[in-house]
Amino acid sequence: MYGFNRFDCRLMVNLFRMTVRDRYLGSSLGSFWAITNPLFMLALFTYVFGFVFKVRLPGSETTLAYVIWLISGYGPWIAMTEAITGATNSVIGASGLVKNMAFKTELLPIAGTLVGLINLAVSLVFLFVLLIWSGSTISWHVLLLPVVVILQFAFAAALGMWLSAIAVFIRDVVQILPTLLTALMFMTPIFYPFESMPAIIQKVSVANPFYQIAEGYRATLLENRVPDVLGLGYVTLLSAVIFHFGLRAFRRAKGAFDAAM
């Protein structure tokens, strides 16, 4: 499929393991940070919004409900950030490999994307703990969660395919990316409900794939309903198109990687 075979799958797993290892190699606590970093961020947000600002959702008694709501959007977002950043840096970061081994370099952004899975897992565990603590019911809809996760990472990989290739030639991408992602986060209804946006912006935000993904998480985890099929279908289509052209662009560009690294 798409010029990938079984050997490539195994290679991708190896690349993923390698990326994770290399990332934390040399730090004495190693992959401990992979878990602690997102956990710390989540705890910080819980504290600030739950105990300092005491924000409440409209129609809700407790701040805990808001915190849970917030984390159901923010947790996946951290994972998204991690996935996109990981993918963007994947080719540049593996320059030794790219210059010395003949392999399908297009696996690198995919493996880079998967690094976000660690953050996602941590966030979800944190979220489930909160859900159970607050006494919320978890319905069978949670079984639809993997669909949302897969869509999320497919979308991240699609973007990563482009970004990683561009970053080889234009290193500025790596510099702008964090700022861009932060801006995107505030444009997406993650900290505030969709409804609190101005009506005109609401109409535009429906087209925001990040919003659709966040909604997918909230639907399956909090609202116990089937996510908006139209919305997720839109994300699927968008990911497929971006990935398809991204892969083609990547394969065209990789012939020139050697000169640029």
Binding site: F7, L11, N100, M101, F169, A249, R252, A256, D258, A259
Partner: protein, 391 residues
Amino acid sequence: MQQPCRDFALRCVHLGKSFAVHREQRVWRLLLGMETHRKGPVVEALRDISLTVPRGKIVGVIGRNGAGKSTLLRLLGQVYTPTTGSIEINGQIAGLFELGGMGNPNLTGREYAIRYLQFMGVPGASVATVLDDIADFSELGGAFDQRIRTYSSGMAARLYFAVATACQHEIYLIDELLSVGDEHFQAKCWRRMRERLLNGASGVLVTHDWTAIVKLCEQACVIDEGRFSFVGSSDLAVVRYLDLPVPEARAARFPDTIPQEFVLESGEDSSVTVPVEVLEDLPVELAISVEMLRIGIGWEIVILSEYHAVGDKAGRYTVVFTIPALPLAPGRYSLNLFLARRALPGQRHRVGLDCRSWTYGNGLALRIEGRPLPAAVTLPFRVQAIPAEVA
């Protein structure tokens, strides 16, 4: 599986590679698949390279730094994409481009090895045995489980070589690496490469060390400023690469009457008579050497004489070199003659006046006849019985 023409391991035709100097210059066109017009300066690293590596042979590529050797090797290993031309490959490639290029200095030697093996798709079951072999070959001992950043460069080189050659691959692409480590380790490296070759491996060896070329390759190319300036047998390639200037032979020379071939008898007291013409009043000296050049096996100076005085007045001389009980096995050798002016007081070196040597492309042949010897040479010895308990 389709069986294409399999009499060669690797072939490339009219290969060319140029690098854009400014990497931003054509990204968007590239990404969007538009026709890429070359804009801005490009570095033409390679031009019109055609090369065929026969199955079971290693072809040498010899050239100076910056001639495009490493780029060529990476192109053949499909790490780089050629700008022009095409490459055909029959077999699995193991590239030893840049030692340890894929490593992270924070990995331990063992982790690096595992990473490499995984990358090459070595099945998990055999990894353990291969790891043992790597640990043993690299002689790292306890350091194998320490981080690579604590290694000395020699230790790292040993690890990288051991890892890269741990498995039998079909095609090896080797960049300079046989110059790593001490004499003992180098000998081990050679043995291993030879062994891989005997087991049917093919490859390309890229180096600036000509002795490596004659050791491993029958065919070699000289690469100069990105193009092959010579393709042919490796001894001729070496002559071409070295491009040693033959002295102009103004003050003293070997006359044209000098025989092109000498024939001696193995084991006999032998002599070589060399005519010399001294044209100016100079203290002239002469040395000879017998070299064994076996293409694909190696080059070796077997016998090297000291400089002997010829004379210090102009005139014709004959110098007779006598070699008692010629210790060489029958076969073909190269006889080299070096005529020089004796170093004057205060000078460190002699001044070469004329020479005959295969490295200059004008060597003389030496044929040794006689009964074959079981070894390369024989040594003069005496033997006697001794009481068994004395020793």
